[in-house]
Symmetry: C2
Subunit: 235 residues, 2 copies
DNA sequence: CGTTTGGCGGTGGTCAGACCACTGGGTAGC
DNA sequence: GCTACCCAGTGGTCTGACCACCGCCAAACG
């Protein structure tokens, strides 16, 4: 009763996880070929593949055909993809509400900017670069939105927290569909873009001044207003 | 170049995701049998299984053998499991640092208690229940830690944000190993437990008083102190 | 007539084998 | 020395088979 028969694919998954934790496997390392893993662990190749598929979707490995250094399953560390897929699917399965996603994004991002404002000398080079690029008035809505995503991600990266970066990226990707749909319904795009630009500059300004609480409030209003704009048909 | 050959398992995954988003599939529904999905989508059964495996690990479906209502692949919504697995694996692959996980937990949880404090009349029944249960001085360290997890999760649930609940649960699960290892090294457990109890009561008290900023600060100190305790050999 | 029991069909779980597509490197030919 | 070709290794996929499990129903039994 207590001892589950241990699904074959879980054996593989557990083995790889423990190898990762013990340091046997690390970033950049190559996993053994599927056929070898199968015989080593005493399972079929299909079971190995099911486990590898999970790792691939979660962003832990990258698989490549052929031979040479780029072939095989290689340990990588791209959590954003997996996080995005997970959140997107759960959103699709109605486990998550869009409102909750937005609210969580606010929680994370307000913490990010508060941390940045409290930091001695945050590295805002990338942030400034994207901020400048967004001032180009000839940007199409789609381009603007893409830069917007870059800007918010750059802020998270400046804070130096990989977990937050992955989560924020995933949250944003998950509701990308909603945003894209809403953008097309905005009557006066130039006006909306101008306001967003102004808010971005203001947030970065507050970070530079060390106004943690002010930056937190500004980001909260910014994100809330952003989604209010793209989800309401009437600008 | 632009048109990837579309891996067979991705066809299945995409199809299920779009069916979820279109409402064709919803929570509680049963997926078609693997063999049927395979013929319908024109792929092999192995490819279908790889896609289903991903969904299962991500907490989207539950598979059962046999016949009847409990058999087959059924859409469920248990994001915690998938979130936990994702974070745990990424942590094992050294994509994430423990410090970042803790910091993100602080960001989310401080937002949770701030929201609760700002709420008109938060439903803290579960929180109070767990809080009371933790006052039992005969609890073993393991039991205490388990209740602690329940308490923090109850706070997140009281805030009513499913995304935050899942993320907090996942973050905590991901570093459960570290905590369990650290607990055993605490010299004066009773003293540490007493302090944690006091901090818990204080946080809930601040929420009741509507002291959002105070609760935020208290939670931050609490979590930071918690991990400082379990990660340092000398109490 | 009620109860028990046995088989049957459908489902996931797993494996073995085969074949294809792709890649890199080595080798034969120029 | 250079080029073109072939080969071995790898993932990607399909097929077919078998097993374990479970609910349902009919046949056998009391």
């Amino acid at each position: 009763m207590t001892d589950a028969p241990a699904k074959a694919w879980r054996i593989v998954l557990d083995r790889i996880e423990s190898d990762l934790m013990s340091g046997e496997l690390g970033p950049g390392d190559r996993l053994p070929p599927e056929r070898e893993l199968a015989t080593t662990l005493g399972v079929g190749r299909s079971s190995v593949r099911e486990a590898l598929r999970v790792l691939e979707v979660m962003g832990l490995i990258r698989t490549g055909t052929g031979s040479g250094p780029t072939a095989g399953a290689i340990i990588i560390g791209t959590p954003s993809g997996g996080m995005s897929a997970l959140l997107r699917l759960q959103l699709a399965a109605q486990s998550f509400a869009v409102e909750d996603v937005v609210q969580t994004r606010i929680a994370l991002e307000s913490a990010v900017v508060a941390d940045l404002a409290a930091a001695e000398s945050p590295d805002l080079v990338d942030v400034q670069r994207v901020l400048g690029a967004m001032d180009d008035p000839s940007l199409s809505p789609a381009e603007f939105v893409a830069f917007d995503a870059q800007l918010h991600l750059a802020l998270a990266e400046a804070a130096g927290n990989g977990v937050t970066v992955a989560m924020m990226g995933g949250l944003r990707d998950a509701i990308e569909g909603y945003v894209a749909r809403g953008i097309r319904r905005i009557a006066d795009w130039d006006d909306a873009a101008a306001r967003l630009r102004h808010e971005h500059h203001r947030i970065v300004e507050l970070i530079g001044e060390g106004e943690a609480d002010g930056a937190r409030a500004a980001v909260t209003d910014h994100i809330r207003g952003y989604y209010a704009t793209v989800t309401s048909p009437t600008e």
